[in-house]
Assembly symmetry: D2
Homo-oligomer: 349 residues x 4
């Protein structure tokens, strides 16, 4: 079991989730910023059994000691190593966006800056990579060589939306997603706007109109709806470390439906998905309720005056929105119970 990108939040989180996993052993830690340092130098607060040294990720070395690799690297970097890993029969869970689009051309256009400096030729890998939303793609994940774990915003937004798109219960036009995330979504590399002094005691929108998660959401939404869907997606930065809330607005086709009806739809579709909890009507999710867990808490409310439906999801952006979902996929790929070693209860408050 290799973890590449070990010192960022995604890697750190993955390692934390695998620490006492009954079936996996971490045998390789890859990283660039921290290569050459031992794990405990960088993270004295989370001891790992053998205190591995962080190494430059070399495919041969990784393949010698690992059947699986979780990659938590910047966009445009995973795709430079994944083909080599796959060739060596290392199955990959990639937490970046590199394999989230079935079409490489699409990726090239959405991740324009990243694509400029590299010349990807892994069209076929993009086509076979599986979008790692286990609640909708479990079977494909099981046998995949490459699983692309979804982005945090797509995870929170698609979970409540897909059932209604799938059933044709909402209008395809005019879907609006207003999402709010904590600062850990911006990563561990220092940036001025993520300093506590700057991001505390304030909220602001960012990436209005052109955020890269928009086409990712649209790809999956369109796939499930069976037709092209455009979505208005606006993320906001919230003064908290972890947590992501997505508030989704759409119009019901049948204005007679009630909140209870819609709750039943969600509860039915997700009845066997232990990480998805559908709240009673009138109870709205708080991100604190899912912090440090792999849960998604969903709620739905219908406004009979406007025929509007309001869908709300809270997740932990670093767990169900990133590393936890990666481990959930890993469990499935390895033939284990999908909840192996994944936390479901928060420490409150």
């Amino acid at each position: 079991m290799a973890v590449i990108g070990a010192s960022g939040y995604g890697g750190l989180q993955t390692i934390r989730l695998l620490l006492d996993h009954p079936e996996f052993e971490i045998t390789f830690l890859g990283g660039e910023r921290s290569s050459g340092k031992s794990w405990s130098d960088v993270n004295p607060f989370i001891p790992i059994p053998n205190n591995l040294t962080i190494e430059i990720p070399d495919p041969d070395k990784i393949a010698q000691v690992s059947d699986f690799a979780v990659l938590s690297m910047p966009n445009g970097r995973a795709c430079q190593i994944v083909p080599h890993l796959v060739k060596r029969n290392v199955r990959v869970i990639d937490l970046s966006a590199d394999y989230r689009f079935r079409s490489l051309d699409k990726w090239n256009s959405v991740y324009l800056n990243e694509s400029r400096s590299i010349n990807r030729k892994d069209t076929a890998l993009c086509e076979t990579a599986v979008y790692g939303l286990p609640e909708w793609n479990c079977n494909a994940i099981r046998s995949a060589d490459i699983v692309a774990a979804p982005g945090c915003f797509p995870t929170a937004s698609l979970l409540p939306l897909l059932p209604f798109l799938n059933q044709g219960m909402i209008e395809y036009d005019g879907i609006i997603i207003d999402a709010k995330t904590g600062t850990s979504g911006g990563g561990r590399s220092p940036k001025e706007n993520l300093l506590l002094s700057e991001s505390s005691e304030t909220i602001s929108p960012y990436g209005v109109i052109g955020h890269r998660h928009t086409p990712e959401i649209e790809q999956m939404a369109s796939h499930i709806a069976g037709q092209e869907i455009n979505i208005q997606f606006t993320p906001h930065l919230v003064p908290m470390v972890r947590g992501l809330l997505s508030t989704v607005y759409a119009k019901l086709r049948d204005p007679g439906l009630t909140s209870e009806d819609c709750r039943t739809v969600l509860a039915t579709i997700y009845r066997n998905n232990q990480f998805v909890e559908v709240l009673p009507v009138g109870v709205y999710p708080s991100t604190k309720w899912v912090r440090n867990t792999n849960k998604a808490f969903l709620s739905v409310q219908v406004d009979t005056r406007t025929s509007g439906i309001v869908l709300m999801t809270a997740i932990d952006n670093l767990i169900k929105g990133q590393a936890g979902q990666g481990v959930q996929c890993l469990n499935i790929m390895a033939g284990l119970s999908e909840d192996s070693n994944l936390p479901t209860n928060t420490y409150y408050p």
Copy 2:
């Protein structure tokens, strides 16, 4: 100059703004929770010149020493004293919702719990009270006996929305307001959900569908649009003390309009309103930029793919969203420059 409700945040804020005002002198402090205590007992950190004692608000006594009264009381309480003040020629700025609806029946239905325990007969006062949004009602405010300062959410949401409704540039149907506020909007009385332990490190929606600011927004929006408008409004509680961000979604009628066009609309309409700042296209407001000021920072972005328009406003919920707007109205009523003693620059960060 009387301030009633002096120990809550609205009253405290009003007093702070009037402290060194060149034209007003605070001569009466009213309150119930704190009556009998001197100001400095309750707030050792903000000295006021004469260290007044907080008193039960008696209309005769107030009228003896004041031409104006700012009321910052719970809903359903201001309306029990306002008729007595008006009869005694005290002009009132009410920060509560009691006079925000022209129709008393409407108030009775929206503030159902409050209306149950009282039997308001001040229909006429409701009809003549002026909705205190100075950027749209300045002339009426000048001569009003009762000004009802708007709610914080309506202020932030109406400022960017009214120009487009007024010009008929957006569709009347399907307007969505997703708003985010700090905890001070919930007041100073202790409540479990507003404890730092509960409300820190989390974001959650509340009052989904039925929030009382919805009909208030709709009343003004309908008035300006010249036709009945229904709005989908969802507030969220954000882990910060002050600040309110409103993100408003609508559809443009003319899909050819650009962000720059729409920015020009806002800039033109508000060119003489010094408290409204329209940001350059691509710059999005952060509530920290307006903290402790009476400013509203507006931004607009158009999505040509969806014909959607995204309007964003940041205000300080306790200043432009409450006490500052009250003082702005007070300045206008007193024939002063509307910006007398109102802060416009924040201390950053």
Copy 3:
């Protein structure tokens, strides 16, 4: 296994820690504020297997279904039920201060307000109750009928201090403890000073000179030192939910000792205590490193200029500082491994 005081933070935390404990089953939930409600009504975000109803704590009923009871009640309340539980052979872990002093007179004087309204007669129980600091009292805890879990400040302060007192390495005079805690230490009952609006973005001292944890610290320090010790203890409220940092200042008797020497003392004494981690010299503990764990991170630094020794401890005030320590004691009392089901690794950040 009964938990009394289930809806406060101490009770909630205890329940969370016992949720998936391999050896204990929660069979009774006691509470007053929430009695009659089912658990999931109060805490929809943490499901418990059988969704018990919270009941008024009746000793007979508790004794029927439980061998152990964890009490998380206000000071002066536990002592009203503990004698009845002990008589019925229920072994008690009390998270309040009621049994922390061997002398009832001492308790009466320190908890003066509480003692006024009750007339405690359980002198003998006070004398036999064991102070539940497992790193120092493990054997006594094993066979105790009543364990009084230490306060959060005493836990964090005593752990680094006792070794040096025990060895006579520091002067007994002039010990200063400057401690800092998050707001959850103030409990879940709404209080104005604990509102996010009030306690966020600020730090302040409280209880200067007369804090009730002072005599608790002094009792244990004196006991270990073998002589009366007076301590200057000042707590501060920090704008964070969880976490407690204690910075302890004392004078070394032997000015030739180095930081490494003193680190060795700590490391040696705690070498078999898996919840105490002594950091390398120059690494200082951050409360985030122990959040949601039962760990205490210790660090020591010597100033050769002043012969001063600075001891630092970080704990999670609700886990190692309260409920986790309670469960640690419970494990010991039940003859289990003391770390059964107790978390040791945080989710960072």
Copy 4:
């Protein structure tokens, strides 16, 4: 009036305080990171009258348009330009540490890293520069060519300590300062440990034993006491943007003194210093009370059991701890009232 280092927090704060100053006009903005950009590009939220362009600080150009310069540059940078400014008759307020030590040798040893790469020859300037603590050095500041504004920790720690040292009321040995600061003290340049994700929800000590403010505090304390004094100083990083609390521990020489006695000492000495507020005994300062103001709130408590005295000060680290104190000095140097344009009341909460 020139401000150099305009885009950091010190410069930004200085500019904000000078914005509507009745006697000063900002005529030059100097900076390196942002040189060539207009002010509004960098800070769209604080408009300045003439929207100056930030320029590389050239002494000739500065001298042409300014009588005074406030420098807010990294340590070791101010000293490279100050001699040139002084020669051109520009009077300097330096917010860095470059001129805080009368002895250049001392500076070279304390700021070892900085001194290595430069070879300072301005011994004479160091000797004539005035330590800008106006409450103690007002006369010297008035005629100074160079004022070195004190560090934030020294300001908060010296204000309550100096009166007792001056009067010989406390023992010179065993003084302990435990200080707590918000993250803005760490500046605006991105650093991992100052990210919200890292520094939120945690408190930790740093610079234990060797912090550079120790010798600065000792220099002034020794000067006032008339004898060499060693101090144990430990700073802590608190999850808030602004604010600094210093808790100072010492031993009274006369054990019969009460808290009221000691409060009287402070109140008497500072009776003419409007920025120093001595709180009633039993009221402890909260940094929120002084946020965005130039005030220092002091409190004192005596423990008769231990003869200990506990001194507490709250300031805003960026105002009284930095830029506000700089402007206070500037006012004095310019022969104005020292409180010109300096804020004294916070917006609470």
